[in-house]
Every structure is written in C-alpha cells, then in structure tokens.
C-alpha cells in the first residue's frame, strides 16, 4: 500500500490529472450540465488534436533536454508551403510529403545549430520562430492562396463515430499519442531520450549517441507541429499566415502542467496531453461559466505555476516515504 502510494506520488503527471478531474467537476456544476454535453465535448475534441500534437512534440523534446520556440511558426509554415504547392498543381499527397520535409529540415537545422555550436536551443529556436514566420508570409506572397476544393477532408477533418462525436483528426491524434507514448516508455530509443535529458554526461559516457537522439527529437517536434498546423488549416479551410502565434508558449505550459521538467529527463507524453486538455477545458469552461474570457491567460499562468509547485511538493513527499532496504 505504502509502495503503491509512493509510486503514484512520483508520477509527474499526477498533479495535472487531479486538477483536470477537479476542473471538469467544477465546470460541469457551474455551467448547469452544459459542459459535458455532447455538443460541447465535440467542440473541445475537434480543436484538441491541433494543440495536442504540438504539445506531444514539445514534451518529447523537453524530456531530451531541449526546447523549441519555433513550433508556432512551423505550425503556419507547413500548411502554407502545402497550399502554395497545391495551387501550382501538385497533388495533395506529394504536397503533404513536401510539407513534412520542410518541417524535418527546420527541425534538423534547430538541432544541428544547437548541438554543434553548443548554444542554448532557446536561442536557436527563438531565431527560427522569426525566420519560419517570415518565410510563411514570403511564400504566401502576402495573400493566402485558395485551397483546392478536392482535399481529402474525409481523412483529416470529417466527423466520424457514434453521433459524429469525433473528427478524423482526433483519431490521428490518439494514434500518434499512443505511438509516441510507447516509443518513450517501451523502446530503447525512449530510454536514450530520457537518459540524454536526465544526465547528459552519463548518457554520453555510456555510449548513447546523444547528438543524434536530440536531433531526432527536434525533427519529430517540428514535424508534429507542422502536421498539426495542416489539420487546423484543413478545418478552417484557409491557410492563414498568422495561425499558431503564441502556440509555442502554450505548448511549453501544457508540458510543464503535465509534469515535464524544464531541465529534462522527467515527463511523459500522457502528461503533455493532460496539460493540453487542461488548457482547452479552461478556455471552454470559462466561457460556459459566463466568466469574462479575458481571465483565460490568467488561469493558464496560474495553473502553470501551481502545477509545478504541486509536483515539486509531491515528489518531495514521495521521497520522504522510506521504504525498507
């Protein structure tokens, strides 16, 4: 019993999970039962994949000990490059592939510059935030191109399931979340990611290719962000160059609320997702509870600090529980 208690206190995503349950109950009561009804849930689940996928990428990268501030710009650049290509007559699958390659290249540059010039990824990706945003506007020529009408929306944004509860994007999100979560917890690569972020000198001295591990995480993060941006553009029906602004900090907040350590090594994909759901729920719940919507950012800010404090406190409590031997 004591061991079980200790194991759960050590789980980094626990604080977020408790808050999540608590807020759902509060919002459900405050909104007179509107919060958990089908229409509202459908609204939340329709947007969740877009910020959720970005949070997954940022979470994994943060566990490996690095940072990416360029995700919001990549979120806009990837669908914009796709749109420009499609206007030129490139078919959707090829444009998708090209868009993902653009993301991979940006992730590679982020990682390469950070690792080989030994500068903080905060700086590299801050630079990339501006570069990628600027490129988005440059390739669009100032006017967002019109998307072709024959897009495979059935694969990405159509409503499916019982009562048309989910968008297809939600299934993509669940699939990617499960895969990345298993990758982190069940594969040797996941072990290397945690070791690299947990204590770099030890990882390097045990022969882990830490540079390649980080590079892979940077590229994965960029590709997930770009893919998420594409989902949003398909949902909105137009590639606006301004989408994803401020998303980078929201993604970091999601990860941190979900128990991911800024210093690396600690965290789970599930935690990042819990953090994202929390932010989405607050966004939605404040409106439903008829609270002035300008309190939204206040709530996120408060939650970020509170979750980290709560996590630190619980970890200390867990450590204090002495086990025999």
């Amino acid at each position: 019993m004591k061991r079980l208690f200790k194991t759960y206190l050590e789980k980094p995503e626990l604080a977020g999970l408790i808050l999540l349950v608590l807020l759902v109950v509060i919002f459900e009561i405050r909104s007179d039962g509107v919060f958990l009804n089908q229409d509202n849930l459908r609204g939340i689940l329709g947007i969740l994949p877009e910020t959720g996928l970005v949070a997954i990428g940022v979470t994994i990268l943060m566990i490996s000990g690095e940072f990416d501030l360029s995700v919001g710009s990549v979120f806009a650049l990837m669908p914009m490059s796709m749109a420009v290509l499609m206007v030129e007559g490139v078919p959707f699958p090829l444009a998708l592939l090209a868009g993902l390659v653009v993301c991979a290249v940006i992730g590679f540059i982020n990682g390469y510059v950070t690792i080989w010039f030994e500068i903080p990824s905060f700086i590299t990706t801050l630079g990339m935030l501006f570069i990628a945003r600027s490129l988005t506007i440059v390739v669009s020529g100032g006017f967002p191109p019109l998307l072709p009408v024959d897009l495979p929306n059935w694969l990405f944004t159509s409503f499916v399931g019982p009562g048309h509860m989910f968008r297809m994007s939600f299934l993509w999100f669940v699939g990617i979340a499960v895969l990345t979560s298993l990758m982190l917890s069940r594969t040797n690569f996941g072990n290397w990611v945690k070791a690299t972020g947990g204590f770099h000198p030890a990882a390097a001295s045990m022969g882990i290719p830490t540079a390649r591990v980080k590079l892979a995480c940077f590229m994965l993060c960029s590709m997930l962000s770009g893919f998420a941006g594409m989902l949003q553009v398909l949902r909105l029906g137009s590639p606006l160059p301004s989408i994803g602004e401020g998303l980078e900090l929201q993604a970091v907040a999601s990860a941190v609320i979900g128990g991911v350590s800024l210093a690396g090594g600690i965290g789970t994909v599930a935690g990042g997702i819990i953090g994202t759901i929390l932010i989405r729920i607050i966004d939605n719940g404040l409106v439903l509870s008829a609270v002035d919507a300008n309190w939204f950012k206040f709530a996120i800010g408060f939650l970020t600090i509170f979750a980290v404090v709560a996590n630190a406190w619980m970890r200390k409590r867990a450590k204090a529980i002495k086990m025999e031997g």
Binding site: R186, T187, F189, K194, G198, A202, A203, G207, I266, G325
Partner: protein
C-alpha cells in the same frame, strides 16, 4: 609483457597548448588491481579518458591483448571490455536502477536499425541478479537511482560493469564524496574484482585507499610516470616523496 591485458606505448596528449601526457608507457597486468595516484593535473584522468574513449591520444598506441586498437568513442572501449566508473556519477538519477544498468545496451525483443522494443522482463530479472552479485541489497530494480546513496550508486555502476563481463574496470575516484563506511564498501568491491578475474584500475588521490586494495601502485606527476612498484615493495612515504 605476456600477461599485459592493456599496454599503452608512448602516449602524448596536448590540451590547447598544455602538454598533459608526456610519452606515457604502461602495462596493465591481467587480474591485477592497479592503483593510479597523482595530484590534480598530473595526467591520470587524461590517461583514463583516453582508455575509456572520452578523448583520443595525439600520439602513441594502445594494445589490448597484444593487438593494436583504436578507441575513438566510449562505445569502442566498452566493446573491448573496458568499463569506466567516473567520479561524477555514471548514472542518470531520474531513471530506475534497471534502466540505468542497461543504458545504451538495452536488451530488445526485436529491433530495426538498432531501435526496438525493450525486453523489460529481462531487464528486471537480470538487474536483480547483477545487483545481488556485487553483494548490494536494494529493495527493487524499479527504484530511482536518485534515491540511492552515493555508495549504492557506485555499487550499481560496478554491478553494471560486472554484468557486461568487462575485462578491465577503471574506477575514476570512486570514493570521492562518500562517507567512511561507503568508502570501505567500494574498497571491498575493488578487492573482490580479482576473484572475478577482472583487472582493476583504481584512481584516487587518497594513498590509504590505494594501499588498502591494490597490488601495484603507479604514481604520476606533470604528465609522466614517476613511480611504478608493487605495493609490498614501497610505502606511502616513498610515494609521497616522488609526487
């Protein structure tokens, strides 16, 4: 010469103008516990870093079992059976004991290009065995390394080296920051190496520790070897005088 498991010949190393190793030649004999002693900056860490693949020598050669080898990365050294336990911990505190034991050498159930699904069952059972083999008693292989004491961590590091059947175990100041009791435990580990047929290299600047557990003492100063004698042929005073 025949019983040398590792020989280094005329090793030189410069660090941005500083001549850290000035032509060091040394035989590490099979099954022997060798104590490497010297003040800070004497070159002992440089020598060890070259053997463990953290740095490469600018000049000179390394022979393992009489054959010339190239050690460019930590992985190369491990593949040759040379395992190093560093003075800073070679453990990731945020990970479990089982995961730490297999860092970089995880058993997988199948893999594509070296990436695959962890065999967690095997990791659990083998880490219990590995820890028991070095006479360490820990509650569970799932405990976080960050919760262990410094001595226990060194114990796990030694268990790891034993588990991967290393032929040569280099311990770089393993007793730093340890309590007296834990230091005794680590010294006990070094003594036990011989029974397991493992060659030990014990780096320390504490003479008493070296004289406690080693067969031979090598002293370094200013990038050179200044003394190389069997323990029974020398004394702490003599080693002190040459440093």
């Amino acid at each position: 010469m025949d019983d040398a498991i590792i020989s280094v010949r005329n090793l030189h190393k410069w660090y941005s103008g500083v001549h850290a190793l000035k032509g060091v030649s040394l035989n590490f004999k099979r099954g022997e516990a060798l104590g490497l002693i010297g003040d800070n900056g004497a070159g002992k860490s440089t020598l060890i870093n070259i053997l463990s693949g953290v740095h490469t020598a600018d000049e000179g050669e390394i022979l393992v079992d009489g054959k010339p080898v190239r050690i460019a990365r930590p992985r190369d050294a491990m593949n040759l059976g040379i395992e190093t336990i560093y003075q800073y911990n070679s453990m990731v505190p945020t990970m479990s004991i089982a995961r730490n034991l297999f860092i970089g050498r995880e058993p997988t159930r199948f893999s594509v290009f070296g990436v695959g699904i962890l065999d967690q069952k095997k990791m659990g059972s083998e880490s219990i065995k590995a820890i028991a083999n070095v006479d360490l008693h820990l509650r569970s292989p799932d405990a976080l390394v960050g919760e262990l004491s410094g001595g226990q961590r060194q114990g796990v590091a030694i268990a790891r080296a034993m588990h991967f059947k290393s032929k040569v175990m280099i311990l770089d100041e393993p007793t730093n920051h340890l309590s007296v009791k834990e230091t005794q435990k680590v010294i006990g580990f070094v003594r036990g190496l011989k029974e397991q047929g493992v060659t030990g290299v014990f780096i320390s600047h504490n003479m008493h520790h070296v004289f406690d557990c080693c067969d031979r003492v090598v002293a370094m100063a200013r990038g050179e070897i200044v003394l190389d004698k069997r323990i029974e042929e020398t004394s702490i005073d003599e080693v002190h005088n040459v440093l």
